[in-house]
Symmetry: C2
Subunit: 250 residues, 2 copies
Amino acid sequence: MAERIEYFYWPGIQGRGEFVRLGLEDAGADFVDVVRSRKRGLDEMILIAAGEAEGALPFAPPFVRVGGVVVSQTANVLQFLGPGLGLAPRAMPLRAELNQIQLTLCDFVDEIHDTHHPIAGGLYYDDQKGPAKRRSRDFVAERMPKYLTWLEHVLQRNRSSGGKWLVGRDCSYADLSLFQIVAGLRYAFPHAMAEVEADLPLVVAVHDRVRERPRIAAYLRSKRRIPFNEMGVFRHYPELDAKARRRRRV
Amino acid sequence: MAERIEYFYWPGIQGRGEFVRLGLEDAGADFVDVVRSRKRGLDEMILIAAGEAEGALPFAPPFVRVGGVVVSQTANVLQFLGPGLGLAPRAMPLRAELNQIQLTLCDFVDEIHDTHHPIAGGLYYDDQKGPAKRRSRDFVAERMPKYLTWLEHVLQRNRSSGGKWLVGRDCSYADLSLFQIVAGLRYAFPHAMAEVEADLPLVVAVHDRVRERPRIAAYLRSKRRIPFNEMGVFRHYPELDAKARRRRRV
């Protein structure tokens, strides 16, 4: 990947862009965060999203541009960049498995988003607080454990064939996304997460190993990492952090 | 693609599986609908989803198995099968664009699903009818026109470079998905769709051309095509089909 990567995402939030950024940071890639580093970067992003530039038309950020090619949709960007970043396995069946995991993580993120915006992304949280409480109650009791348990099973299966990451032998972009989701859920739903983590030793171990990777650790300490806040995907509204239904181990 | 494709999805609904099936049908592929044609097909599907079989662990159907490799997540299945089915362009940038469009269509389908299930997929519609009405009002006024207009723009851009499909020169699996979404929206939101279609000539034209492709036309007439119903993604609940906000052309 000789060409410089231009990365486009909203400033001020981690959002879905963070899944792409973690890959770029972990690989030490030569990239530019256009919106945060160029004077008219936000205008540039909006022009591309409005169809005023060459290349594929993104539906929404995040997207990247590499050598004139515009690539959008989080999982698609990661699939496009992954091999060049050293964050994807070589064998085709493993790549299909990696993509399937990443798409499932993206679905998980969509459901996390909809806990605070179950009615409409364009309305304020306060205007949908009632439904948000109901959706969050179900999310914490059913969906969050379902996704996390599935990840634990994927890790168990891969461990039984000698791997300590989600796919194959090495850390992939899906492991970085797992890290981000665990970190975000701990921020958004601290009580609920505290209750389920004991059943997720492998998930927590991947989170911890990703956090300690040298370039990720340096990135997390830097100003480039925007703190979690109540404009992003992972929002801490204490009223939504209902305790998970207590599940006893059999 | 010499090996026979095993296709796994719930019986009785079109659901997300239909996007995969349309590709298989259009290509005249050698595939078996395991659940609907084998005596213990449903058990087979459930065993794979429960992790009792070899291969990648799907989070949910639809998935396919080809030569021992299990591939799940609708867009991932299509990406995996697409080239062998003759439903994907060859050039890598066009493949990335195709995948980005397909992923956006999948997001659209998720939002369509959540119009009738804004609180929880595990609860009955009747238990979330109030929030469903609110979500549908926003969907019909904002989200549905946003996605459809974006598709119209993608088609306009491709037409200006000589194409009459979403990507490149030939029909791809994303065009088949567009057909399915237009057909589904006409079923679920007939009033709202009637109001917006006049502004979407290229989208409607792709829908019509797909419907007339010989193998698709034969499939739609066959018993293999399950009719739309109120258990799938596209459900006709008249109370959700609020008229779209009237938008005048400027």
